[in-house]
Amino acid sequence: MNESRLRELVPAVIGILRRRGADFAAAEDAVQEALIAALTAWEREPPRDPQGWLVAVAWRKFLDQVRAEDARHHREERFEHDPAPGSVSAADDSLELFFLCAHPSLTPASAIALTLRAVGGLTTCQIAAAYLVPEATMAQRISRAKRTLAGQRLDRPGDVATVLRVLYLIFNEDYSGDVDLAGEAIRLARQLRSVRAHPEVAGLLALMLLHHARRAARFTARGALVPLDAQDRTRWDPDLIEEGIGILQAALGQDRLGEFQAQAAIAALHADAASTTETDWPQILEWYDELVALTDSPIARLNRVVALGEVAGPRGGLTALTELEETLPRHAAVAAHLHEADGDAALAARRYAAAARTAASTAERDHLLRQAARLNSA
């Protein structure tokens, strides 16, 4: 059994412990310990019933934990017998865990860490490595999150939008540890979709698959950023694109449009084109209009300007750009791109250089500097 199959069992096992009476924090700790034990024990001797094995070991760890605490007689009486898992379905358990871990009382950073551990089954060490922080720091962040949840009422229905936001944050992290966070977010989105048939869940999964399909073409071997128009489209993954488009079309068919479906539709139109010049920009612009109407997000408005520049020409784009705040991330980069298309190389070069100063990553900074250099040395 590989590690990711093993991790898929985690939500169900936490759910069973919870139904037997363990609180979330204790159940989560116990399952985490059982998981670490499984990683070594199963290599020697794989169990016939992996979930049963995990439940048995985690329950024992939980009882050890309870016994170690004060007032143990009372607690031991309470948990003397192993009750049956009960009739609630594993799907409900998984969904409840998703909602718990994305609870609005948690900060995004805590929600991400807790989701990766309790739903994703990653170890604290793996999560810490992925976010480039010491393990002790990540362990504290997770216990703090669990303490926060302990004081919350958890009987109200969770908000699927919050869960989707957490998953999308995980997907967009570009740090590199030994855990592929984008792949992990896709795995969790698939899991969520299997327990919650909501068109936006499908929309987010489609969006992630369509983005992920372009991953190999997005950077050079040395880590330099390759913009969309220069990407080698033969390196895009056709299977992921096909799957993403299929999932998106089914979601759109349900006629409950949301921001992730709109973003996925834009990604699908890019994925479908043979080049940037053959891209269906008018349709992309229409989807950006939908997206702006749905979210009123300034980032969506900025991206819309790029599409508008392709449809109505660079002047049209530049006019629309004047209505947006200059402090927006990538505002200068969009301005540079439009000025270049408009034939003003000197102004475009200055804008690219300015954009490089506020770039979000070194790959982006180097790319923008190269653009400025290209225009300045022409």
Binding site: A224, A356, A373, R374, N376, S377
Partner: protein, 135 residues
């Protein structure tokens, strides 16, 4: 082994020999510079002398405690007058001489026309643990 911090400055350091802003280079020169920096880090990883490196954004703030119960005061980075750190690399080397040698190599990264930039890098030793005086 002793650790050293190599600091690269946006400004405030003495002027480099080949002092041309990066956006005035040819694209190939930018690529060559980035490749040199990556190769340097790769090579130090192989010799076991690399610890960490990070690039820092020029955007920053000054923050100061401003009395009990009062919020800290922040103001602009005053980029035009104050020195700004562009990034760092931490190395773990056998000797002070080796640290100077590596800093020199890093400063020789190629710039405009492929010539070495000769930029100044700040080299700061870490305080270490004082070894016991008796065995």
């Amino acid at each position: 082994m002793a650790k050293y911090l190599l600091l690269k400055h946006y400004r405030g350091a003495p002027t480099a020999v080949n002092d041309v802003p990066m956006d005035r280079w040819a694209p190939d020169e930018v690529d060559a510079h980035v490749a040199y920096m990556n190769d340097f880090a790769d090579r130090l990883t192989r010799t076991g002398e690399y610890v960490d490196s990070q690039a820092l954004s020029p955007e920053g703030l000054w923050v100061r405690f401003d009395g009990e119960g009062r919020p800290p005061v922040t103001d602009g980075p005053f980029a035009e007058t104050k020195d700004l750190i562009a990034g760092w690399m931490i190395i773990d080397v056998n000797s002070h001489e080796r640290a100077i040698e590596l800093a020199g190599e890093l400063s020789a990264a190629p710039g405009k026309d492929g010539a070495a930039i000769h930029e100044w890098l700040e080299l700061r030793p870490f305080y270490g643990v004082t070894p016991p005086t008796t065995g």
